[in-house]
Symmetry: C2
């Protein structure tokens, strides 16, 4: 998997958490925050917060703190979600549908521009007011959609073929929900969300905690 030069992936993940929190703060009309407050609310250590920001220059004023609107705009710019980001969803089962209707995508400028499936019963139907396209036209349609990010929400058996089609259609980043390890070229980034992995980690943790 490719990683961005110098910036550690956990830093990027935390930036997204700060952004989520800052959006909520702005909605509550809070103008300034301290790193201590960030720690209290997000559970992320204040020193870690300052270190994460330090990769991207100077932030905040000593003794004053961070301006909520300004910090939010800068983090959004760092993550390239200050502009609209076209995304396609591949697979329109329960999971794909949940993602298509997921609240907050628009708020962070992710725009689902196309949804695709291979099931003849689904093609031509509408999900959240968007038409389901035949996945065999992915390459053709993505010439105009121009999505570089695709969400893979198909069964494990279909996931590699779907990933290959997406890459052939110009996609450069895959969010993969299928429980398989995708093989892609080095120019493509993949993030995997595995429900089983998450549950397995919780299973270990709750068992260990039990003994305390």
């Amino acid at each position: 998997m490719n990683t961005a030069p110098k910036v550690p992936i956990p830093t990027l993940e935390r930036l997204a958490t700060y952004l989520r929190y800052l959006i909520d703060l702005e909605a509550s009309n809070i103008e300034t925050i301290s790193s201590t407050e960030v720690e209290k609310q997000t559970g992320i250590n204040a020193a870690q917060f300052r270190k994460d920001l330090s990769y991207f220059g100077e932030f905040g004023k000593p003794g004053v703190g961070y301006n909520v609107v300004e910090l939010q705009a800068r983090i959004a710019r760092i993550l390239r979600i200050d502009r609209e980001q076209p995304v396609i969803v591949l697979g329109c089962g329960n999971l794909g549908s949940a993602l298509i209707g997921y609240p907050g995508l628009g708020e962070q400028h992710f725009n689902i521009v196309g949804i695709f499936d291979s099931n003849a019963k689904k093609i031509g139907q509408k999900i959240f007011n968007r038409e389901v396209h035949d996945i065999q036209y992915l390459k053709d349609l993505n010439r105009s959609l121009q999505a570089r990010i695709a969400i893979i929400a198909v069964p494990a058996t279909a996931a590699q073929a779907v990933a290959d089609s997406a890459v052939a259609a110009g996609v450069r980043a895959l969010l993969n929900f299928a429980p398989i390890i995708l093989k892609v070229s080095d120019s493509v980034v993949v993030r995997n969300v595995s429900f089983l992995q998450e549950l397995a980690v919780l299973s270990f943790q709750q068992a260990v905690d039990q003994k305390r």
Copy 2:
């Protein structure tokens, strides 16, 4: 958030990845693997693989490799998924339904023993042959269900209240899909799955890769 003593969380996450891979290997009747082969197939460095296992004792034979069935059984035991693990799902929208029908849960001994919602239209209905219960009876029902792991698949506005109910009902581990930071006592472990966070990281990575 609590963490298990000594074992780093990324190690636990990778153990779950190895387990997934070993299950597939066993299905293909492969008896032995080397750490080099693990690296080739999972993308996880061979030295990292050996280090991850080293937290839990001796594994594999020099020059021979790892017995697939044995390694699988030991990892499952480490993660406490060698025995059945009861899990409840809170929220039966598209996402909850996708999780309830998620293939592979049973294979790793996660048993969804109860599903709950607050929507009167859903209560009493069946999803994948399981009845949806009224979430107000969560505490009562979990006396017999005995689930210690709950999946939170409700909207952000309801998530904290649902988490509180789950903890009051004896749950000690939460897999949270709502885009909020849950406040729970130290005896409860939480893992968050944030689609927005995943997309934000991909957004950054694909933009940076573009410039290479």
